[in-house]
Amino acid sequence: MVESDRSDQLVTHGLSVHFDGVKAVDDVDLEVQRGRITGLIGPNGAGKSTLFNAVSGFVPLTAGRVVLGDKDITGWSPTRISQHGLVRSFQDTRIFKTLTVLENVELGAMNQGLNGAKGRDFAYGILELLNIKHLALESAGNVALGDERRAGIARAVATKPDMLLLDEPAAGLDEDETAELSLTIVDLCRELGCGVLLVEHDMSVIFGVCEWIHVMDSGKTIAVGTPQEIRTNPAVIEAYFGKERS
């Protein structure tokens, strides 16, 4: 993909997803810029996962639009969306466990037309970036959860996405692994120049790496801003941090 073909932003306009009358996501305008890490947070049931799934094509929209660069991708299949540069990771990683870690990443490289030795070198480069090069030849089903998550992200990254959606990458990781992963996410965004939308419960990750944060509660956007603005936003404190304290 040449640089000029890359999508600079991912935007939703009035995105709504209703399930049997329940407004899981209601009229949300989200903006993710390329080269920036955007956090998506909110208490349980806020609608983050539904929004995430709707943007990546896994849940149909009730109303609204999703625009990637200059393309309206509303209603597109997850496959078509990923082919156009919006790639997501999964909480349960969905790594191919019968393949080696390297083969998992090579699959992403193949998608870029990088085959054979070129694809392998490219995949090794990505694994190095994610600090799991030493696990390249291990069966992906045999590595620890933290490494499995990294392998899942590596596979997504190998497709050279314009927008990378990370679904709770730190879930189940210990403090050290989480800190290391946070640094990796920042490195990835810088190295690849892609936009990152990060859904995460761990506030240390969110406030540690995100330059922009979108906060939801009960399906609606309640605040958007820099980490500093979000920390001091009364609505966020009430809806999110307030609830946590209670």
């Binding site: 496959t79 019968t98 393949l99 083969e103 090579e106 699959l107 193949m110 085959n115």
Partner: protein, 290 residues
Amino acid sequence: MYLQYVVDAIGTGSLYALMTLGLALVFSVMGLMNFAYGQLVMIGGFSIIMLRQQPWWAIILGTILVVVIASLLMERLAFRPVRAATAMTMLITSFALAQFLQQAARVAFGANPRPLEQFSELSVQYVVGDLFISRQTIITVVVAISIMLALTLLLKKTNIGIQLRASTEDVDMARLVGIKSNRVIASAFVISGVIAAIVSMLFFATRTNVSWSSGESIVLIAFVGAVIGGLGSMVGAALGGFLMGFAYTLLNALLPLELRVFADAFLYTIVIVVLLIRPSGLIAAKGARV
């Protein structure tokens, strides 16, 4: 004497192992148990009859070509349109296709079996101690092992092999990382077509005729082999197919003459017992169920 039966059973087991592998490959990639696979073997048989006067290499290449084209046409015309449908729809489609191909062969080649001139070179027997080993048995075992090794190398070392293995494990995720499912599934049909062609050459090398119903019994045994081996597992499929062929030959050889007519009943009783003990098959693939 018993050892002689075992040698013969190994030959038949190897043949069924190959057949089952072809079935299991397509099943793994698209969840389709293709009952029309036996008709690919039948098409291979008629190809051999048509090419019988040609040099041996032309018979081999010609048969592979014809069966691979038939396999690809099956995928493109019959199975691709129902790929998103339920497993039951695909299964019924495969039954319908099997019937269609059988009746088409009946119209094209007649209801009576067509005689097949024997390949006398294959009936040469080697004597090893007290054992008689036919060239046919040796070729079958060597070809089966070679094909399995080649398939293993292809799956491990090539791009299409890695894509096939990924699609086998999680076809939706495979699409998400950019694997073109049409291409991968077509590749699976090409490989299984090559295997079907080779099975047909090995199978009909010892037969005196080919008929429109020739593929029927062999696909049933291979299907049961895939089930007891473990659906979705290549190794399990090869093992299951081998055991079915092995057991089938031994039962036919060792049962008392008056019981031999019930060999199939004994075979499937063993299958039921195996499935009662291991419902997911001998080597179950992740998430596979019978």
